[in-house]
């Protein structure tokens, strides 16, 4: 331990400090990319098993009913929803709009996914929250009422009949859906679309439409509804959901592999140069009777301690950087955090750094075995 600390801090061990810095940087980037990946993976979607078709605007990127698209919207939402319900075979239809907004109750304030929808008979749940608890007054008038998901109720400590404030407007909680659950624990507030439009001053627009039907032939009619739109069936969405879920995972996995490769090359190069420099010392220790195995153990312990320390530093720095990125994103780009800053990421950084240390060991062992041969001059 003393040797490792001395190596890292001693004036003659610049390369060891480079190892510390290099691995720290690699782990910092790994933690940030993973935090963003986890953030993407756990962001909520308004998928729902009850919905058969989603009508979403065409965009340059992937078209999917993701939340908070900040993309193009559909106009005349209420009129179109009414038309859709007239279609033969359509059981229910509702325009959906989403936005992440600040919701306050008592002294608590949270970013919450606010969803505007129409309580169309048979619609079931939207984003895991029972939409049939919404007032049926929509689309005619605003109601001033909202339904909270279980997570939102817990976060805000709000219960039925309480009043919550969303962007300065007060709403009465008609229900806290105790059985609500989305793919993640993202907090949701469900409100009538008219209330949502009034709150956001967005006019009669919607981000997407959800349509329930048992008639497969309806898809072509839905496609003709808006010129620049895409209709996704549940089967298509299941596929895209899989892709959507895999992308953050692939991102995190790639970051892990790249970090381990770069970190290992860094450790091998710098520690290798350090061992070359210390070749006389290694030979001396062998000459006075220290076995190669002992010297290998010494180098292994030093390498693992060094990488673990770098992992800890990288984990902490990465987490702080993630918090900073979230602050920046909230202030400039999005209305909510885009990455997950969790203490577990620090532990992840240490584990990843230890992997770098372990992967580097065989190369270092070979060098030590070679360098302990011969006689010190």
């Amino acid at each position: 331990m003393r040797q490792a600390v001395n190596r890292a801090t001693g004036p003659d061990h610049q390369r060891v400090r480079y190892v510390l810095i290099g691995v720290t940087v690699a782990i910092t980037l790994l933690v940030v990319v993973t935090a963003v990946g986890v953030g993407l993976a756990t962001s909520a979607t308004v998928y729902d098993d009850d919905v058969d078709y989603w009508i979403v605007p065409e965009t340059d990127g992937a078209s999917s009913p993701l939340i908070d698209t900040d993309g193009p919207s559909f106009g005349e939402a209420h009129t179109t929803a009414a038309e859709l319900e007239e279609y033969s075979g359509v059981e229910y239809a509702s325009p959906i709009s989403t936005r992440v907004l600040t919701v306050e109750h008592a002294d608590r304030s949270e970013y919450v996914l606010v969803i505007g929808a129409i309580n169309s008979p048979g619609i079931g749940t939207i984003a895991g929250v029972d939409a049939e608890t919404l007032p049926r007054t929509d689309p005619e008038t605003t109601s001033g009422e909202v339904v909270l998901s279980e997570t939102t109720g817990a976060l805000l400590e709000a219960a039925q009949t309480d009043t919550v404030t969303i962007e300065g407007e007060e709403f009465s909680v008609t229900a806290v859906d105790e059985g609500s659950a989305t793919g993640s624990t993202v907090p949701v507030v469900l409100m009538p679309l008219s209330d949502f439009q009034a709150l956001t001053e967005s006019g009669d627009v919607a981000d997407q439409f959800v349509v329930g039907t048992n008639d497969p032939g309806i898809e072509s009619e839905l496609e003709g509804l808006y010129d620049q739109s895409t209709v996704q069936s549940r089967a298509e969405l299941t596929a895209s959901e899989t892709v959507d879920a895999d992308v953050p995972f692939a991102l995190s996995l790639t970051a892990f592999i790249v970090s381990v490769v770069i970190g290992t090359l860094f450790v091998l190069t710098m520690m290798g140069l350090e061992l070359v420099r210390e070749r006389p010392q290694l030979r001396t220790l062998a000459a006075i009777g220290l076995s190669t195995g002992s010297q290998v153990r010494l180098i292994a312990v030093q390498t693992l301690l060094l990488t673990a320390l770098a992992g800890l530093l990288g984990g902490v720095l990465g987490t702080l950087l993630t918090i900073g990125i979230n602050e920046l994103a909230a202030g400039w780009l999005t209305s909510g955090p885009i990455a997950v800053a969790h203490p577990a990421l620090v532990a992840y950084g240490v584990v990843a750094a230890l992997v770098i240390g372990v992967v580097s060991l065989p190369g270092l062992v070979i060098m030590v075995r070679r360098f302990t041969r011969g006689v010190p001059q």
Partner: protein, 256 residues
């Protein structure tokens, strides 16, 4: 002063600590040419005979000095007597173990248990204190920490370094560093001490002090010293002179 010979086979005392018999060592200067090199007409590099049929034995309590011009094979002989190298022909026996028949690991263990080595350039571990440097071989022997500290401290005190035990090599003078190196060589209580130019890096006065300490501390051991320095050679019971890898005979001997 008495006349002696490199080997003391007629000596009727106990088994010598170290014995070299007809030791020959040849080095190749450069590398052998590969297949392409040979095809291009490269010839094998010249061979240099570093030691030729060298025989000697050293008893417990005896100090033997080896002198000779540069390139005469002093260091090579010392490496063989310390078990750091294996002869091409002939045998070297340390504490009744034939070095040539041992594996690399077994030779390392033999050095740890029976040989103490003092280098010209000290070769201390910079990041460790004087005491930790001295105690290093005891770590390998599995000696408990408290015992290691006690033995290392006692040796450093014996060598006049009681106020330097916690200093690192960079904080010590050349003479102090060499005394730490001597303490490290003695800490396992070896039967043989091998010293290569132990005063080569020191000024005259410091060298004398180091030699005094060295003499005091090595009463019980067999000691081999290679040196050019007359002051160093003067402490020897026997002086052997090497020239072109051969021991000159008869060797000059002195009584301590």
């Amino acid at each position: 002063m008495e006349t002696g010979s490199p080997t003391r086979d007629d000596h009727a005392g106990p088994t010598p600590v170290v014995r070299a018999t007809d030791v020959t060592k040849t080095y190749t200067r450069g590398s052998e040419p590969g297949r392409i090199g040979r095809a291009l007409g490269r010839t094998s590099p010249p061979e240099v005979t570093a030691l030729e049929s060298v025989s000697l034995s050293i008893d417990r309590g005896e100090i033997v000095a080896i002198s000779g011009p540069s390139g005469s094979g002093k260091s090579t002989l010392l490496h063989h007597l310390a078990g750091l190298a294996v002869p091409d022909s002939g045998t070297v026996t340390i504490a009744e173990e034939n070095v040539g028949s041992l594996s690399r690991r077994a030779r390392t263990r033999l050095r740890l248990e029976h040989v103490g080595i003092v280098f010209q350039h000290f070769h201390l571990v910079d990041s460790l204190s004087a005491r930790a440097n001295v105690a290093l071989p005891l770590v390998e022997l599995g000696v408990p920490t408290a015992d290691r500290r006690r033995r290392a401290t006692a040796l450093l005190e014996e060598l006049g370094l009681e106020d330097r035990v916690d200093h690192r090599p960079g904080e010590l003078s050349g003479g102090e560093q060499q005394r730490v190196a001597i303490a490290r060589a003695l800490v396992t209580d070896p039967v043989l001490i091998v010293a290569d130019e132990p005063t080569g890096e020191l000024d005259t006065e410091t060298g004398e002090r180091v030699l005094e300490a060295f003499q005091r501390a090595t009463d019980e051991q067999a000691v081999v010293i290679a040196s050019h320095d007359q002051e160093t050679l003067a402490i020897a019971d026997r002086r052997l002179r090497l020239r072109d890898g051969r021991l000159q005979s008869p060797a000059e001997s002195v009584v301590r």
